[in-house]
């Protein structure tokens, strides 16, 4: 049986239909057409589907759509502001923190979670924060560089408010 699921995605009220067993990632992709959140395994191992649920980073293949009822979800589509890339997005682009780009949205969301809670992380802390996100292209070298660069950039200016604060 399908149920109606209403939730706040990137600051916007959205609703769609979900079978009880439908995963949040499939709901985002197939019901809401937000295909920026990728699926690499749907068993919680790769982190490609990472989103923020009520501000906490989760693997959206490990959450049922119905569990997100009434909650707040942030995805990669919500990071740009007025056509401007988020400092993390800008840093991943500039520092070559991606190649194939498939892990990138999840990687950026995990990094965003880190920087919101720890605005100037050490290299060790960055590596731990992204250890649930597999990347097979970069050896993580430039991802770590990008996160550090973004943290520096965000420290020197007021961070763009999260979707929750503006939404």
């Amino acid at each position: 049986m399908k149920r109606k699921v209403s939730l706040r995605v990137n600051g916007e009220e959205r609703e769609g239909w979900a079978e009880d067993r439908m995963l949040l990632v499939h709901f985002l992709r197939d019901e809401l057409n937000l295909t920026g959140t990728h699926i690499g395994c749907d068993t919680g191992h790769c982190g490609a589907c990472t989103v923020l649920l009520d501000g906490k980073s989760v693997k959206s293949c490990m959450v049922l759509a119905v569990q997100a009822q009434g909650r707040k979800v942030e995805t990669i589509e919500g990071l740009e502001r007025e056509g401007k890339l988020h400092p993390l997005q800008e840093a991943f682009r500039e520092h070559h923190g991606l190649q194939c780009g498939y892990c990138t949205p999840g990687m950026i969301l995990s990094s965003l979670y880190l920087l919101r809670h720890n605005p100037s992380p050490s290299e060790e802390e960055i590596r731990r924060a992204i250890s649930g996100n597999l990347c097979r292209c970069t050896g993580y070298v430039n991802i770590v560089k990008a996160v550090r660069a973004a943290s520096e950039r965000m420290a020197t200016r007021v961070e763009a408010p999260s979707t929750e604060e503006t939404g």
Partner: protein, 797 residues
């Protein structure tokens, strides 16, 4: 024709070539807007799923799909007998079918394909399919497969065995050289199978329209080979098939075959008249495999009293799994790629690849060059120790010089392996560290080389260029690049834009890359064999030079200055000695379009004939080779057996790096993948059954375990590469495994010859060493240490 002849020495420094340009599609990728195959939506879309074999080897007595067809929501049920024609990436070894025909050969092989309104309906249909299997003898060990067998896995297997391919090569007089040798070593090593573990699972979308045209979107490295396979198996002319490659989430060789699921998906679309999409689960990806072959090899090296290598003797046995895939090439590569970067006057190789009932092995990054290189570099290290030499000195004494020929007739052109080694040795502090660090810590060094594009296109008749590029100029001066080369994340679209922008002197935002759509793109044979930058780069450069000639003519007409005095740059065409005189790029475009309304140009690349005349002579020949030497420093926890790689100094010769940021990214990613194979990755089989088809149990290197990497790009311009460039996509993987393997010997005094070197193996080896020797101690330092930084007392031969 020498490619270098078409280029002119730039009068102004390069602007885009050599620049650290971000990927041209990075903005799309960081915003989630890049479209991968699974992101594509079509109206009335069906979901396709494939029912897989649970038997490793069995005859199919009967498949009953009657009840499955009746399930509401099922649109089509397809079995192997509908399209039984065999295919495969190599024309000589077609042994795959879209779905199993009469027999299954590995657990995970596709048997029935279903298209339905959703995934659950497909699963309901599967539950109603009855397949009667008659089990056959299972072959899970290539050592058994090479002997006479009761049942051949494929009829085309050699003689009465299950061997798919056997290679014998002998150059010079190996037995004679061996007898005369002052020093010799022999090393036998074993390599578990590893797989690509790209992050995007295989995905394909197919649609058949009422006008009789088939469109296939697929996550593929080889759109053109897919195009051919679809045409052959489905019996449709190529002009009625359109293949589109959306963004691809990594390939590493794992998407470089035309695949059964791609053909099955197209067949379902034809059957239903509706678009059908098949997206693999992660375990499907593992069963599809086509990864690096499980390998057993033996390497013997002999040297004379002066430390000159006199002979190389190689044997390799490969577990090919159920299909041929690239296996014939792999079998050759495991021998012929053993030789460089050293000079060996005598060489013998015996290689064999066996069919087994494992998922197929295939091409994986640094295909055929990785496992054998580990054995060779460990053997060189052992030889140095036996001789009392520093291993860097022994290597320096034996390098192939630039512009030389190997005993098996490889043409070597640019070669900076010496500079790679000297740079890695100096930057790593080799002299202070080798055999001198405390027990449990060590430093190692190893070299490598790799083809910069296979000289032989897979389909060589009729004779087409390996790559062609078209440029089309818009009214507003925008340039669209039509190209068939598949960007799979390595950044080939960016290289295309840099090359075209450099030649025309225009900014990157004027350039739009249209790749890959077979309706508009000329042929490129695919992203494999590290060929794209070299071949596509040359084709793009020639196309842009053709366009530049037309524009310079137009500018000459407008300014009255001779063509020879004009220069392209800064979005203008101007007089070299009076830069203020000139026309804008757009003015030249408009002039060139007068009375035609069109402005376009093409360029292509076709490599020169090369290689000897003996059987298999073309295998491993390439228009250029990358060279490398890495030093690695390790630290082993002798209590837990855990290996930490502290730092890798990566000396790499890719000629001129067109985009150093991108080259470094390739090196860092290669080191990640190579360390995985060395330390933790392994496809674990129990008999024919794969025990770890998930990213939890198949352990790639975590962010915390990556070493620091220092890239040392020391190459000189290659005479034939575009702007002097060579490959950097695969070669960088090769030396990291033996560099760390040799560092482990320096740290522990133990040779590890069974990959991956997991902590349990390290502990077992240490226990054994202690039992045997009574204590744990480092190997003795060599008598011959290198001379101080920068120099060597051994000149090239």
């Amino acid at each position: 024709m020498t490619p270098a002849a078409s280029g002119e020495a730039p009068a102004v420094p390069h602007r885009l070539i050599g620049a650290r340009v971000p990927l041209v599609d990075a903005s799309l990728k960081v915003t989630g807007r890049a479209e991968y195959t699974d992101d594509l939506r079509r109206p009335n879309l069906l979901v396709g799923r494939i029912l897989k074999s649970v038997h490793p080897h069995a005859r199919i007595r009967k498949i009953d799909v009657t009840e499955a067809r009746k399930v509401p929501g099922v649109a089509a049920v397809l079995t192997g007998d509908r399209y039984p024609r065999t295919f495969g990436v190599l024309p000589m070894t077609h042994d795959e079918t879209a779905l199993a025909v009469d027999r299954v050969r590995y657990i995970g092989e596709g048997v029935v394909a279903v298209a339905a309104v959703d995934e659950e309906t497909c699963e309901r249909a599967f539950a109603r399919i009855r397949v009667e299997y008659e089990p056959l003898p299972v072959y899970d060990d290539p050592k058994v497969s090479r002997n006479p067998v009761a049942v051949k896995i494929h009829e085309r297997a050699l003689r009465d065995t299950n061997l798919q391919k056997e290679v014998f090569q002998h150059f010079g007089d190996l037995p004679g050289a061996w007898r005369a040798a002052a020093h010799s070593v022999r090393v036998s090593a074993r390599y578990a199978g590893v797989t690509h573990a790209f992050t995007e699972p295989h995905a394909v979308l197919a649609e058949y329209s009422p006008d009789g045209r088939l469109t296939v979107w697929s996550a593929t490295q080889v759109p053109h080979y897919l195009h051919r396979a679809l045409s052959e198996v489905l019996d449709l002319p190529m002009h009625r098939i359109r293949v589109i490659k959306p963004e691809v989430g990594g390939g590493f060789g794992g998407k470089s075959d035309p695949f059964p699921h791609e053909i099955a998906c197209a067949a379902l679309a034809m059957e239903t008249g509706r678009p059908v999409k098949i997206v693999f689960d992660r375990d499907d990806v593992f069963y599809t495999n086509h990864g690096r072959h499980p390998t057993w090899n033996t390497v013997g090296i002999a040297a004379d009293a002066l430390g000159r290598f006199t002979a190389l003797d190689v044997e390799a046995l490969l577990d090919g799994g159920a299909w041929s895939s690239f296996g014939t090439v792999t079998t050759y590569y495991n021998g012929v790629l053993a030789m460089g970067p050293y000079q060996f006057p005598n060489f013998r190789y015996h290689g064999a690849r066996a069919y087994t009932n494992h998922p197929p092995s295939g091409a994986m990054r640094a295909h055929g060059g990785t496992n054998i290189r580990y054995s060779v570099e460990v053997a060189v290290d052992m030889l140095a120790e036996e001789m009392g030499w520093d291993p860097t000195e022994l290597r320096l004494r034996n390098f192939l010089p630039p512009h030389s020929t190997t005993v098996n007739e490889f043409r070597i052109t640019s070669n900076s392996v010496r500079q790679c080694l000297l740079a890695a040795r100096e930057r790593s502090g080799w002299r202070e560290k080798f055999r001198a660090l405390p027990y449990g810590q060590g430093i190692g060094i190893a070299c490598g080389f790799y083809i910069s594009g296979s000289n032989s296109p897979i389909h060589f008749t009729p004779k087409f260029p390996q790559c062609t590029v078209h440029l089309k100029v818009d009214m507003d001066g925008g340039v669209t690049v039509h190209c068939g080369a598949a960007d799979i994340g390595q950044g080939s679209k960016t290289i295309l834009a840099q090359v075209v922008g450099e030649v025309l002197g225009i900014p990157l935002d004027r350039i739009r890359i249209a790749a890959v759509d077979s309706d508009t793109a000329p042929i490129d044979i695919g992203s494999y064999s590290s060929r794209v930058t070299f071949m596509m780069g040359n084709a793009a450069k020639r196309a842009a030079e053709d366009l530049r000639r037309q524009l310079v003519q137009a500018a000459s007409d407008l300014t009255g200055y001779a063509r020879e005095s004009l220069e392209c740059g800064g979005d203008r065409i101007y007089v070299r000695h009076r830069p203020q005189v000139g026309v804008s790029f757009l003015e030249a475009v408009h002039r060139a379009m007068e009375h035609t309304g069109a402005l376009h140009a093409s360029g292509s690349y076709e490599s020169a004939p090369m290689g000897g005349t003996f059987k298999g002579a073309r295998a491993g020949t390439a228009p250029a080779y990358s060279f490398s030497a890495y030093a690695a420093e390790v630290e082993v926890d002798v209590e837990t057996g855990f290996v930490r790689v502290r730092k890798v100094w990566a000396g790499f010769d890719c000629g001129r790096p067109l985009n150093p940021q991108s080259v470094e990214g390739q090196i860092e990613g290669s080191i990640h993948m190579g360390l995985g194979q060395l330390l933790s990755e392994s496809l674990n089989y129990r008999g024919p059954r794969l025990m770890n088809p998930s990213l939890l149990d198949y352990k790639i290197v975590m962010p915390q375990d990556m070493p620091e990497v220092e890239c040392l790009l020391v190459g000189e311009d290659d005479p034939e590469g575009p702007f002097g460039a060579k490959e950097a996509g695969e070669g960088p993987l090769i030396p990291v495994l033996p560099a760390v393997g040799n560092a482990l010997y320096d740290a522990l005094g133990v040779r590890f010859l069974d990959l991956p070197i997991t902590p349990d193996k390290v502990l077992r080896a240490l226990e054994e060493k202690e039992r045997r020797e009574g204590r744990l101690s480092k190997p003795a330092p060599p008598a011959v240490m290198p001379v101080p930084a920068g120099g060597t007392d051994h000149a090239p031969r």
